[in-house]
């Protein structure tokens, strides 16, 4: 099916609501739209900023492969992935995924799948800055474990 596939890796800020509306208009006809937006937490004011490093070239390639898998696995009208790199302020949108489908179960499952794979298989690394200095965010075992549920199908 002629699903919309839009992947962007960028330093520039983006407006999640405006992107969701533009995506909904682009896939018009689909009844169900799911979005996930990841925001920089302020950790009760402890976090002063975040920096995201990525691997140019591989990033786009990895995200496109993950999005393609989602499109093969569920009945989707479209997939949107936007992921920022560089410095980000507390409250800023780090990334978003949006999925559109005729039925909500497909849109939800594909969005969760995309998030689980992006978190652990796309080459991004987060470094958080606070009063105590800057530190690389460690990968969580739960994120790696989250991939298991998609291996059964």
């Amino acid at each position: 099916m002629g699903a919309v596939l839009d992947v962007r890796v960028q330093a520039a800020p983006f407006d999640p609501g405006a992107e969701a509306n533009a995506f909904a208009a682009a896939v018009q006809g689909a009844g169900a739209l799911v979005t996930f937006t990841g925001l920089v937490r302020d950790e009760g004011g402890q976090l002063t900023g975040m920096e995201i490093e990525h691997y140019p070239g591989m990033t786009e390639r990895a995200i496109a492969a993950i999005a393609g898998q989602a499109r093969d696995r569920w009945r989707l009208a479209g997939v949107l992935v936007i992921h920022r790199f560089g410095p980000l302020a507390p409250g800023a949108a780090i990334m978003m995924v949006a999925t559109a489908a005729p039925h909500r179960a497909d849109a939800f499952a594909a969005a969760e799948f995309l998030m689980d794979y992006l978190k652990s298989r796309a080459p991004f690394w987060k470094k958080e800055s606070g009063a105590a200095g800057a530190a690389w965010v460690e990968a969580k075992a739960a994120d790696e474990a989250a991939l298991d549920r998609w291996r059964r199908g």
């Binding site: 591989m58 990895a62 978190k119 298989r121 080459p123 991004f124 690389w136 460690e138």
Partner: protein
């Protein structure tokens, strides 16, 4: 002997002190290349000390440490990803 672009990201880059370099090597596998680099200087040995904490990509695809380097042009070392 072959010449590779070797890339480092996140704390691997910080420990080694550079983002990329050209390496001429006869190492047949990723593991052999890691051994060779680790023998160079303490900063490499420090970066590669715990291989379970490292990931490797060959020509921008995730690979294992026992993967062969034949035909590969770009090798990247980095910690587990934390995007999303």
């Amino acid at each position: 002997m072959t010449t590779l672009d070797v890339l480092y990201f996140a704390w691997v880059r910080e420990r080694i002190g550079l983002p990329r370099e050209r390496v001429t090597t006869a190492a047949p596998t990723v593991a052999a290349l890691v051994d060779e680099l680790s023998a160079r200087e303490p900063r490499y040995a420090a970066a590669f000390a715990d291989r379970r904490a490292l990931r490797v990509a060959l020509d921008q695809d995730l690979a294992d440490f026992d993967a062969p380097l034949a035909g590969v042009r770009e090798v990247a070392f980095f910690p587990p990803m934390t995007g999303g």
